[in-house]
């Protein structure tokens, strides 16, 4: 069977470390998770002035995950996932556009691209490894993990996956953006008894019961789709993990 064939040649992927950053740590208490608020000391003042909540949050989570993994960030390829990316910057620019004579700020303009966070991460860490910025609505985490998984098959051994979404203006797509949340994972192909393995994300027919509090939170902060995986890692519990709250559920299997 061809399916068995490729499964055999595929390398397993392990989670080496993970970290959360949110300005509202209370979000995490129902899930018994811990996280960080933005750590200003991680971002030089000049970069802090130029970046928005999204980038500061994502950089905090990513740096904490790399520290925990004892991995040099300059060596890591990265996958950044966000539904709205730099939505606050984009919103500020869009508000100027109806005035045909208004001048846009060049810094704001180049900071409105979806890979702004990825770009600053690379500059901060002198990292010339490939970096990508993806978006997939409700499936963001599932697609980010899939992209990360397939990148590691091609280019082992380690990779950084960051999911983040900042606060959005109410009029865009409420309740999306009611909460800000970022989470980072250091993934590796190196097998170590301490690291749980994850299977390639798939659309499942398994009848997973979704935690109601979680699925409500995902509607407000898409990057919190990562929470069931983070919980399972913390509790060291093997099993199927939902990666989204859609009708077609993407899932991965976590094995300790």
């Amino acid at each position: 069977m061809p399916v068995l064939l490729w499964q055999k040649i595929m390398t397993d992927i392990y989670i080496k470390a993970s970290a959360i950053c949110t300005p509202n740590l209370e979000l995490l208490s129902p899930f018994e998770l811990e996280g960080y608020i933005i750590d200003k000391s991680l971002i030089p003042a000049i970069m802090r002035r130029r970046t928005a909540l999204s980038t500061r949050m994502a950089i905090t989570a990513a740096t904490k995950a790399c520290q925990q993994a004892q991995t040099d960030p300059s060596e890591l390829a990265s996958v950044f996932v966000s539904l709205g990316g730099e939505i606050q910057v984009t919103d500020a620019l869009c508000r100027l556009l109806p005035d045909k004579t208004a001048l846009l700020s060049p810094t704001q303009f180049h900071n409105s691209v979806h890979n702004t966070t990825a770009g600053y991460w690379g500059i901060l860490n002198h990292c010339q490894q490939p970096s990508t910025a993806i978006a997939a609505n409700d499936d963001g985490f599932a697609m980010g993990l899939l992209e990360a998984w397939s990148q590691l098959q091609q280019s082992p051994p380690e990779l950084l996956l960051v999911c983040y979404d900042e606060l959005w203006p109410q009029y865009l797509a409420a309740p999306i953006g009611d909460h800000a949340f970022a989470c980072a994972f250091v993934l590796t192909t190196i097998n170590d008894a301490a690291y749980p393995a994850i299977s390639v994300p798939k659309i499942t027919n398994l009848n997973l019961t979704l935690n109601l509090a979680w699925s409500e939170l995902v509607k407000q902060a898409p990057a919190t789709a990562t929470i069931p995986l983070l919980q399972a890692i913390k509790q060291q519990q093997s099993g199927y993990i939902p990666l989204n709250i859609n009708s077609s559920i993407w899932q991965t299997h976590l094995t300790f």
Binding site: L97, L104, P106, H114, A118, Y120, Q128, A135, Y171, A173
Partner: protein
């Protein structure tokens, strides 16, 4: 070295018109499709690569996805002569709807519609009734629209890394196929003209008043364009062995500045070298390079340096944004298609708008289209804001 995948169909809509033939004609004649901006007004002089022909209308059940970006994508998808849609339908029968991914690169998505919505918002303190940010403007909107239109149910996401977006979407498609996640992937890029990009690039003093002149000593900035470039990738097998092949995409980051390239072109060099290494080829094996060459002072100078450092003087390259404009998030896919046409038609495109090559540049740049027998392997460069670089290598009758 990685496994190549087959490119079983591809097509484009851009300022030159609809389909590969219209693009080939413009390339063969080295004829610019740049014109004055008609879609909306800006208060500075510029030329654009605007699509002037009527666009397909989004079907009723997908009205929630209606945007210029979606329409441009649909018009290209439905163009029968290039057979892309038929090839996707066949792949669906062969592999199943779940086994076909959709990965679309874009930098604008439906921003054009959102801009009008903001005019309404500022007057009325609320968005218009039909405003739908998620399905029209969020980056995955056009990809999701194509997935629903084609009845596909596999992985679907957008890549948005500014001007390298669609080159990276091509890379992601190859990886998903090679890691067994899917058997085929509809990949490419779609970007449309909008006020934010025109006025944003103008704020950076990067927009040229006259049609852009890539690599010219008097180049003065970019001409922005719009396009869809769509390609169907399939795992290689005997049925598609005579199709062109995607060998590899090399990717890198500058880690230097958000809008300035690395002055020595280190990121660009790394992307080209990585593409060569992943494809398992040496610089001398590449027969043609489609440059990123946006026609800004610094970008072209840095790329010329990087190309020289990898290929010395041996590789024939050219710049085609003087024909199509810089189509930003779609540029990687559009120029991969131009590179495929060069292989298919056995010619090296010229560099429209280039009159006098910058004397500082040492790499070999082709001015006028020339026939090139036995052109087998070629490369296309795409570099974007954030220092995000990708180089695509494609081949014909590769064995």
């Amino acid at each position: 070295m990685i496994k190549s995948v087959a490119i079983t169909a591809y097509t484009t809509l851009n300022a030159c018109g609809l389909g590969n033939k219209a693009l080939f004609q413009a390339l063969k004649n080295n004829q610019s499709a740049l014109s004055t901006l008609e879609l909306f007004e800006v208060d500075f002089k510029t030329s654009v690569g605007e699509i002037k022909q009527p666009l397909a209308t989004t079907p009723n059940h997908l009205q929630a996805y209606q945007s210029r970006n979606a329409q441009v994508a649909l018009t290209a998808l439905n163009y029968q002569e290039d057979g892309l849609r038929l090839a996707v339908e066949k792949a669906k029968q062969r592999y199943g709807a779940k086994r076909i991914a959709v990965i679309i690169g874009t930098s604008t998505s439906g921003l054009y519609e959102t801009e009008s919505a903001y005019s309404y918002l500022l007057k009325n303190n609320k968005m218009p009734a039909d405003f739908n940010f998620i399905n029209r403007h969020a980056y995955q909107a056009t990809g999701r629209f194509l997935q629903l239109e084609l009845g596909l149910t596999g992985a679907c996401f957008a890549i948005s890394t500014a001007c390298s977006s669609s080159a990276k979407a091509i890379a992601a498609g190859q990886r998903l196929i090679n890691s067994g996640v899917c058997d085929a992937a509809l990949v490419g890029g779609v970007d449309t003209l909008c006020r934010l990009t025109l006025r944003g690039f103008s704020s950076l003093n990067l927009v040229s008043e006259k049609p852009c002149q890539p690599m010219d000593q008097s180049r003065s900035g970019i001409s922005i364009g719009e396009a869809a470039g769509l390609l169907l990738l399939e795992k290689s097998n005997t049925a598609n062995q005579f199709c062109p092949q995607l060998l590899a995409v090399g990717e890198s980051s500058d880690a230097y500045h958000m809008s300035h390239p690395h002055p020595e072109g280190l990121g660009a060099t790394l992307a080209m070298e990585s593409a060569l290494s992943l494809a398992g080829y040496k610089p001398k094996d590449i027969g043609y390079l489609n440059l990123h060459a946006t026609a800004t002072k610094i970008n072209d100078a840095v790329e010329a340096k990087a190309v020289y450092s990898v290929f010395a003087k041996q590789l024939l390259s050219s710049a085609t944004k003087g024909i199509t404009g810089h189509t930003l998030g779609a540029a990687g896919a559009l120029e991969t298609i131009i590179t495929l046409l060069a292989l298919e038609e056995q010619f090296v495109p010229g560099s429209c708008g280039l009159e006098k090559l910058d004397p500082e540049f040492s790499c070999r740049i082709n001015l006028h289209p020339i026939p090139q027998q036995k052109l087998k392997i070629a490369m296309s460069n795409s570099f974007g804001f954030g220092g995000n670089n990708a180089s695509v290598i494609v081949a014909k009758n590769y064995d």
